[in-house]
């Protein structure tokens, strides 16, 4: 059957997220939770994630400015951030979190700072992509987003 243009676009966009490693399986879990009772569940969750994690990002930034670096604290923040990010399936962001934590454990301040920059980049990139995605989804109409690869 013919897919509407927006729907097809949506499907492709979505697929690219997975192919490029921006999102992982967990995102699909979220999608599965979406139903008639919560038709915008995924978007709501992602929005909530970006809202809450903004605070965390700020905390980490501030902590990175302190000298000397409190690795325990940083590790704690990052653990939290990692948990959050993994719950929405933000794969690349999660990978950066893991890297950051490793540097923390090694006491490598430089590594931490560098990784954090990278993390922020990924974080922002994903945010933009998902925003575009949801916008398109709204335009595409209530029909379900592309079929999920299972």
């Amino acid at each position: 059957m013919d897919r509407n243009h927006p729907h097809r676009q949506l499907a492709l966009m979505r697929q690219s997220f997975f192919d490029q490693g921006y999102l992982d399986e967990q995102f699909i879990q979220l999608e599965e939770l979406q139903d008639d009772a919560n038709p915008n569940f995924v978007e709501e969750v992602v929005t909530s994630y970006y809202r809450d994690s903004a605070r965390l990002i700020l905390n980490i930034e501030q902590a990175l400015e302190k000298k000397p670096l409190d690795f325990n604290k940083l590790d704690g923040y990052m653990h939290q951030f990692k948990g959050s990010s993994s719950s929405i399936g933000a794969e690349k962001v999660k990978a950066e979190c893991t890297q950051f934590r490793e540097y923390c454990r090694a006491g490598n301040g430089e590594g931490c700072i560098r990784t954090f920059q990278q993390l922020k980049k990924e974080y922002t990139t994903l945010k933009k992509k998902l925003e575009a995605y949801f916008q398109l989804a709204r335009q595409a109409g209530p029909s379900e987003t592309a079929c999920r690869p299972k």
């Binding site: 979220l30 909530s48 809450d52 994690s53 704690g76 653990h79 939290q80 948990g83 993994s86």
Partner: protein
């Protein structure tokens, strides 16, 4: 046979129905499972909630551990299972786990993005029934109901094992085997729970025509009677048959009494820090101690934490105690006493922990019991009486002791010294002054060093208040006893000033103590007193400061009477225990019983009498017999809580064996009060 309960054709049917306690949820188990989710991450929380809802569970979400705890406390039976994150800002997930285990005995699943082996291991040792790695998938949540069922099954089994209801047992066993026992168990479980309102319907229950074990609801009054009977008979002589006669309650069977007695004993044992491995300890007296120490410490710490969370004890104190406890373990190595202390501490801790949550009342009773346990039951029966008083003081002491907490090694020596000198000063502080609440803090700090001493001394003075009746002498002793029992740090109850301060001299205080203590702690000594204390308290209702203090610790001070009652008992127990364990043999039994009794008593106390038992305890007892027991022991690593090495268990078991030829209380946790019926009359 078909358990009428719920087995029915569909195993599921019953469980949900029975679980719900009248919820009216159709038998769609596991649908409708009531889950409490705790996670500080709002995103995760929302996702989890949605996933659980998809599994058709009833979800309540919570972003703070404290909130979760109060929710759980308010709705004792409102939840079937708890899922909690490990890293939370306001409270460590493991602490929450302990609390829940102690107070509510619900299955708890931990989750975290952290999948490190040590973290997962921590979950195991803290009693989590499962550990999920984040991000959590819905499939993982789909099967969490198995933990609920499993727990119920085990509880049932324990219940059945107590042998109180043979008929029921058989039926239940069958049903259990038949289906996943969820229905059967739950049905029975539910029945029991419902029964509690009935109280004393043993006959009906005994019929177990419906496969349900008849459950006698040990109301406060009933428990009071029970305690009174036991005290009257003497811990060592308290056999179910005689207790039954003394109680003279129509409809009560020997089995009911026996099982209740068993639970009580376990409870007492627990209080005294007897670990759940009575059997193991038997020989390893020394060795286990060491091990226990470490464990104890940890337990203590845990307890401390719990306590701290709850209230009276400041987190700081607890932390201190914990640290002390931990430190102690190492130091102790060769010292018996330390172990004892640990145990004592532990026992105290336990009560505290439990109570801490807000059920201070519970604590007092627990504490008392614990105290008793911890205290080597060297004391003679007479001393036991003293113990009562002492228990009061002990209660206070416990508090103090708690603060002293973790320094067993220190405690030993310190105790001795402290008890005498400091305790006076300190105790009055704690005890008189602020009632329980203060104690925790005081204990933690000042007592740390003096620990025992502190407790002891003041007690002397105070106990008098507490027990108007001739207990005064006891109270003094109790001050002595106050020692470490409370301290998580394991105040060497044995070495504890008991002897030093008041005259309790029976405690050899220090060196000699230990060996005795160990044995004593087992229980018997403390045991009896606790009962008496309770009774006394109720009768006298003397709200002596000690009681108050004690109660405060538990935070249950609300019922000063009750608290005191429990404290007294505890104190007495402790004191006695501290004393040379000459009396252990008989006492062990008592101890165990006391434990159970305490629970029951607590329930009773709530009713307003001097029954210290905090409402919580009552609730616990009645609602979840299993919980009660769990609380005391479970929280922390099972092994740790009671320093097994101490040999208390050994003692207890030995005593128990001697007494009734019962096997060591394997199920120490079974404070159900009903199920344990190992006691051979």
């Amino acid at each position: 046979m078909n358990p009428s309960n719920g087995k029915g054709s569909i195993s599921m049917a019953s469980p949900s129905a029975s679980w719900r306690a009248g919820d009216g949820v159709p038998d769609q188990f596991p649908a409708g499972l009531r889950v409490l989710v705790v996670d500080d991450d709002p995103t995760c929380l929302v996702i989890l909630e949605k996933m659980l809802r998809k599994c058709l569970y009833e979800v309540t979400k919570c972003d703070r551990a404290e909130t979760a705890l109060s929710l759980l406390r308010e709705n004792k039976n409102g939840f079937d299972i708890v899922i909690s994150d490990v890293h939370m800002p306001d409270m460590d997930g493991f602490k929450l786990l302990e609390h829940i285990g102690l107070e509510m005995d619900l299955p708890v699943i931990m989750m975290s993005a952290d999948d490190g082996k040590d973290v997962v291991m921590k979950g195991v040792t803290h009693g989590a029934c499962d550990y999920l790695i984040k991000p959590v998938r819905r499939e993982a949540l789909k099967n969490i109901w198995q933990h609920v069922v499993r727990k119920r099954r085990n509880e049932w089994r324990d219940f059945e094992q107590s042998g109180s209801l043979e008929e029921g047992d058989r039926q239940q066993k069958q049903s259990d085997e038949a289906d996943y026992s969820s229905s059967a168990n739950e049905g029975n479980w539910k029945n029991s729970k419902k029964r509690k309102d009935d109280e004393e319907e043993p006959e009906e229950r005994d019929d177990t025509s419906t496969l349900k074990k008849p459950r006698v609801v040990w109301s406060v009054e009933l428990h009071q009677q029970f305690v009174g009977a036991v005290n009257q008979l003497g811990i060592d002589k308290a056999v179910p048959k005689k207790i039954l006669e003394l109680m003279n309650v129509p409809g009560l069977t020997r089995e009911n009494v026996a099982s209740h007695l068993q639970k009580y004993r376990l409870y007492l044992r627990r209080l005294s820090g007897v670990s759940s491995h009575p059997n193991n300890l038997t020989g390893s007296f020394m060795n286990p101690q060491e091990a226990t120490f470490g464990q104890l410490s940890s337990l203590n710490g845990l307890e401390l934490q719990s306590l701290a969370a709850t209230g009276p004890f400041t987190a700081h104190s607890l932390a201190t105690l914990q640290a002390a406890g931990l430190g102690r373990s190492t130091a102790k190595s060769g010292i018996h006493m330390p172990l004892v202390d640990q145990r004592n501490l532990f026992s105290f801790e336990n009560p505290k922990l439990r109570l801490g949550e807000g059920q201070q009342q519970l604590m007092p009773s627990n504490k008392q019991i614990g105290l008793l346990h911890g205290i080597p039951t060297n004391m003679e029966p007479k001393q036991l009486a003293n113990l009562h008083h002492t228990a009061q003081s002990i209660g206070n002491m416990n508090m103090q002791v708690n603060s002293q907490g973790g320094q067993n090694s220190q405690n030993n020596s310190l105790l001795m010294q402290m008890a005498q000198s400091q305790s006076r000063g300190q105790i009055p502080n704690e005890m008189t002054g602020g009632h329980v609440p203060r104690l925790p803090s005081t204990i933690g700090q000042p007592i740390l060093t003096t620990g025992i001493g502190a407790n002891v001394s003041p007690r002397n003075g105070i106990p008098e208040n507490i027990r108007s009746a001739g207990y005064n002498p006891v109270s003094q002793t109790s001050s002595m006893l106050n020692f470490p029992m409370n301290n998580a740090s394991e105040l060497p109850v044995n070495g504890f000033p008991l002897g030093s301060t008041s005259g309790v001299s029976s405690l050899p205080s220090k060196g000699s103590f230990q060996p005795d203590v160990n044995s004593d702690i087992k229980g018997s000594v403390g045991f009896i007193p606790s009962f008496d204390i309770f009774n006394d308290l109720q009768q006298h209702k003397s709200q002596h400061w000690e009681l108050d203090n004690v109660g405060i610790t538990f935070d249950a001070s609300r019922h000063s009477n009750s608290a005191q009652g429990s404290l007294d008992l505890a104190q007495s127990v402790l004191a006695h225990q501290g004393f040379p364990s000459g009396q252990m043999t008989g006492q062990n039994r008592n101890t165990a019983t006391i434990g159970n009794t305490m629970f029951s008593s607590n329930n009773g106390t709530e009713n307003g009498n001097a029954q210290n038992v905090s409402p919580h305890l009552n609730a616990l007892l009645f609602d979840n017999p299993i919980r009660v027991k769990t609380e005391t022991f479970h929280d922390s690593n099972p092994a740790i809580i009671f320093p097994e090495p101490f040999g208390q268990e050994d003692l207890m078991s030995a005593l128990l064996k001697q007494q009734e030829g019962m096997p060591p209380a394997e199920h120490e946790f079974d404070i159900d009060g009903y199920s344990m019926d190992d006691i051979s009359v």
